[in-house]
Amino acid sequence: MSRLRRAVVILAIAAGSSACRTERVASVPPLPDLGAMAAPVQQQIRDEYARLTTSGAASTSDRDRAAALGRVGELLMAAESVPAAEPFLSQAAALDPNDPRWPYFLAHLSRMKGDAPGAASYFQRVLTLRPDDVPSLVWLGNLSLDQGQTEAAERSYTRALELHSNLFAALFGLGRTALVAGRYQDAVTKLEAAAAAEPRATAANYPLAMAYRQAGRLDEAEARLRARGDAQPPVPDPLMAELADILESPVVYEGRGDRALARGQMPAAVAAFRHALALAPGRPAVKQKLATALALTGDVPGAVALYQELLRADPDFAAAHYSLGALLVSSGQWAPAIEQFAAAVRADPDYIQARLQLGHALRRARAFDRALAAYQGALSVDPRFAEARLGYAVTLADAGRDGTARAWLTDGRRAHPERSEFVELLVRVLAAAPDPKVRDGGMAVTLGERLVRETRSWRTLEALAMALAETGRWPEAIARQREAIDAFQRAPGRATPALADNLHRYERREPCRVPWSFDPLS
């Protein structure tokens, strides 16, 4: 930190300390108009405010008073009432300048307002009180990076990494800092380290792609772009985690339910959705989610009862029809599932997931023409919908229309270069379609080899083996098929396909004539 900036920080802290003596007698800040908030949230804030205003006795310690002020500030902040929260938290910080919570929340308030320098100065204040606070270091690094202050960012991330080795957020921050600073090879090294520390963190892939591109390594850049995503482990941040759950709001409980659902914690999801409904009974969308969570806990009768209740209240509630259809599919009841999906589409013609599932169900019921119409309907709603394009192509192949399937898959590959399924299915059709006019072993091998280089799985290996067999490269076909079987045995939760049959076929020097013997869309 420069001498001037350090002086400014010290002055600011000193100003805060002196203010505490004057703020001690300051009046309690007013509450904003809470009228638009949910009633339980209004009540929660008013109760806390009442506690604060009635605890103004002289006997109350500065620390207790700060805690009471801070509590109201936290509630307002959680309610996204940023301007109203600020004076409460500022007074709390002035009354109890040694409590790092208040500058920490003020830092986030500043961040929410878009005041990056203000937020950074509050985080620095936290770090003077608690030098090893990893969340503050990471946030400070992020804010420095936002402001193009790469050296400061690097210092913060490096310190965080010293305190918490292999912390993804810090490794990722160091990589991003190198990228912003234009040190592209360094960025590659650091972002690769971040990706290695947390392989599920797909968020590392985009900046890594940009670093590879700038370093002139375009193939690696393209591969990283295909793998990009937004998954990254959160920074351990107990204060903000507490804040996220503090409100007695139906939206907060719905969010908790959603997160639990995503993590597969069904009982927690059920509890959260029930609580949300208790706070706001009239929200069908929450009831719908509760039913889904119930179904996933195994309480299918409970889920069905809820869906039916929703449909009694609103026979055109498309999501309820859709979910009922999904439940019926899971128990193999195709005909009633088709009815439910069709009802969902009638109720909401733009419901593309319902159109897709209708297509899948009709395809499974071998009603190919109707399935094609359903997929086409989904594509007419959204031409970007890759799943519907895949479904259409697979249905064509299942119906024996291999030539048209090949054309659709070729178009799909062009339209969705990020979706390797189009290539895999195209390789299978080119290698194993019964119609010899459709097959093209050479092209299948070329595409299949590239596919396996990029995505190695039992499915891609099997597709390549089919292609090799079609061109008479038997030893390689056999080797790839064996690899496919090995990969399959390592892949959990799959029904056994006829991989061994194809291996024996290749050993007899017979090509495959069935592009797939499993549902490639399952």
Partner: protein
């Protein structure tokens, strides 16, 4: 001590003020010029999504008299038709600029809506301008919640709705559009950016964490496919979206800018999408395009996050002869600033340039590169306005003002960095409006760039540039042999000292708005004549020597005329 800190901050602020002194850089001339227009968003308290999206504005010379007229787009009530009151409509203002013998200017606008045929009703969104029939007069395309309209100019400033026979369907929610000659046949084609599928029956209640109603995020609704239309040269257009390869990759489009981003001489199309990847459609010279948004680095934020792209503009901010990009985003996201390497690979330099974090408090819509002080470097103006009502404001129809934010003016200091000079811009920039569209152009023909801002639920604003004319400049109107503005033409202007500035003729960019197609190049204190090197949209190259401090028309194949 707090005072000492404030004093330090004050010194910093002073350091950023204009070298021209304390006089504001922009003068609010709205009332004085008679540009009296108030947008009506029809807000109901039901949080209807379109309420916060419009409107745009066009600056264009409707009657060929050499000055810029104004079309301000109007919206309406959602239950319009049931109401017995007068229907709000778009308004057209004729520019009656007079230049006195002493060189002073008297700028007045006259409401000529009735005679112009531009008193459009419906829930309007934006406007694009270009000569679609090569008669030398500017035609218009207006966008709306319920479809686009093509309006043909009779060259006297009277417009006829030719939508029905044009082949451009009057359906879908379109916001920004651009006329672009993508096939280099000398006829302007058309890209229409579509946003979301929405009607009142689809309006979904959304809630903030406190349980209060908020406007939904765009993902709640389905994105509509944008469309590319090829000009059939007979007054009709053909939808070539599928054939051109644009059908399967699109998002909720809000901003469009067309330029040659990879330096191959063919015009490409950049689309800013709301919370989805932006697209950079690179022209493949055969009527098709390839989306290279991702690998170009312009699809996402610096670290891969999709942002709420709204306004966009392309311009050469570093004088290296290629088109750089700015995209305005939602508060908390920061605007994106993409620097081109000349071949269509961009580096997001928002943080280093000082634009990213300084724009974090604001939701940016209209945006334009303009050389505000005519020092030769392109500066940036973004017009801002929130899309969520703060909880301190009631949700009813009177809450429009609560969306207000000031504008932001960034001055290019010539080393890839920008300083925030909004305060120097004057009170006109600091006003709190829910700004959406902004059209950039020299409204008073004095050699600097002025701005008309279209505000949601409030009065429009005319900001006249008060400092640009203090420096030398050169103004160019690039016209095709047919007499149309040569949208997409590029020009390199080289001063006597050998310094070269690159600009292009464009009417698109910003947000839902149409800009002055003329080119203005600030020359600083360089006083001699300049050489201009024009690359016409069809690929022809010409050089001309032109005088400074005046506008010169350069006709393709015909050289300059004053």
């Amino acid at each position: 001590m707090a005072a000492a800190v404030a004093a330090l901050a004050g010194i910093t602020a002073c350091a950023r003020t204009s070298p021209a002194g304390d006089a504001p850089w922009f003068i609010d001339a709205t009332v004085a010029s008679g540009l009296a227009f108030t947008h009506h968003n029809g807000r109901t308290g039901q949080f209807y999504y379109p309420e916060v999206i419009s409107p745009g504005v066009a600056l264009f010379d409707s009657d060929g008299d050499g000055d810029l007229d104004v079309l301000l787009i109007q919206s309406q009530d959602f239950d319009a038709g049931n109401d017995s009151g007068p229907m709000p409509h778009s308004q057209f203002f004729r520019n009656d600029l007079r230049v006195m013998a002493d060189g002073t200017r008297r700028l007045t606008f006259t409401d000529a809506t009735a005679a112009s045929g531009l008193g459009l009703s419906g829930y309007g969104m934006g406007v694009a301008a270009g000569d679609v029939n090569n008669d030398g007069c500017v035609d218009l395309l207006t966008t709306s919640l319920n479809g686009a309209r093509l309006l043909q100019n009779d060259c006297k400033g009277v417009f006829t709705d030719v939508s029905a026979r044009s082949g451009i369907p009057h359906t879908g929610w379109s916001v920004s559009a651009a006329f672009v000659d993508f096939d280099r046949d000398g006829w302007l084609d058309l890209f229409v950016g579509h946003y979301l599928t929405w009607d009142r029956s689809l309006n979904t209640p959304c809630y903030g964490t406190s349980g209060r109603r908020v406007y939904c995020a765009p993902q709640v609704y389905r994105a509509q496919q944008s469309h590319l239309y090829r000009n059939n040269r007979d007054g009709t257009f053909s939808d070539v979206t599928d054939a051109a390869g644009l059908a399967t990759q699109f998002g909720p489009a809000l901003g469009v800018s067309t330029a040659d981003f990879n330096g191959d001489g063919w015009i490409d199309i950049y689309v800013a999408n709301d919370r989805e990847e932006n697209q950079l459609w690179i022209n493949r010279h055969d009527g098709t395009f390839e989306n290279l948004g991702l690998i170009s680095g312009t699809a996402l934020g610096p670290f891969g996050q999709p942002k709420s792209g709204m306004g966009v503009d392309a311009g050469d901010i570093d004088d290296d002869g290629d088109e750089d990009l700015v995209v305005t985003n939602l508060a908390g996201e920061g605007h994106d600033f993409y620097v081109n390497d000349g071949k269509g690979a961009f580096v997001n330099a928002a943080a280093v340039a000082g634009i990213g974090h300084r724009s974090l408090p604001y939701t940016g819509f209209g945006a334009g590169w303009l050389d505000v002080d005519n020092d030769g470097w392109l500066d940036l103006l973004t017009v801002n306005g929130a899309v969520q009502i703060p909880d301190s404001a009631a949700a009813g129809s009177g809450a429009t003002a609560s969306l207000g934010q000031p504008q932001q003016l960034f001055r290019n200091i010539g080393n890839g960095r920008f300083e925030d000079v909004t305060r120097a811009g004057g009170p006109g920039l600091l006003r709190s409006d829910a700004s959406r569209g902004a059209a950039f152009g020299d409204v008073d023909n004095d050699g600097d760039t002025d701005v008309v801002v279209a505000n949601n639920g409030g009065p429009a604003q005319l900001l006249l540039n008060a400092i640009g004319q203090r420096q030398h400049w050169v103004g160019l109107r690039l016209r095709t042999a047919a007499g149309s503005d040569a949208l997409g033409a590029r020009v390199a202007v080289t001063t006597a000292s050998g310094q070269t500035r690159w600009r292009r003729a464009r009417a698109d960019g910003s947000y839902a708005s149409a800009n002055d197609p003329r080119i203005l190049v600030g020359l600083g204190n360089s006083a001699g004549p300049v050489t201009v090197h024009v690359t016409w949209p069809g690929g022809r190259v010409e050089d001309a020597r032109v005088e400074i401090d005046r506008y010169t028309t350069v006709v393709e194949g015909g050289g300059p005329t004053p």
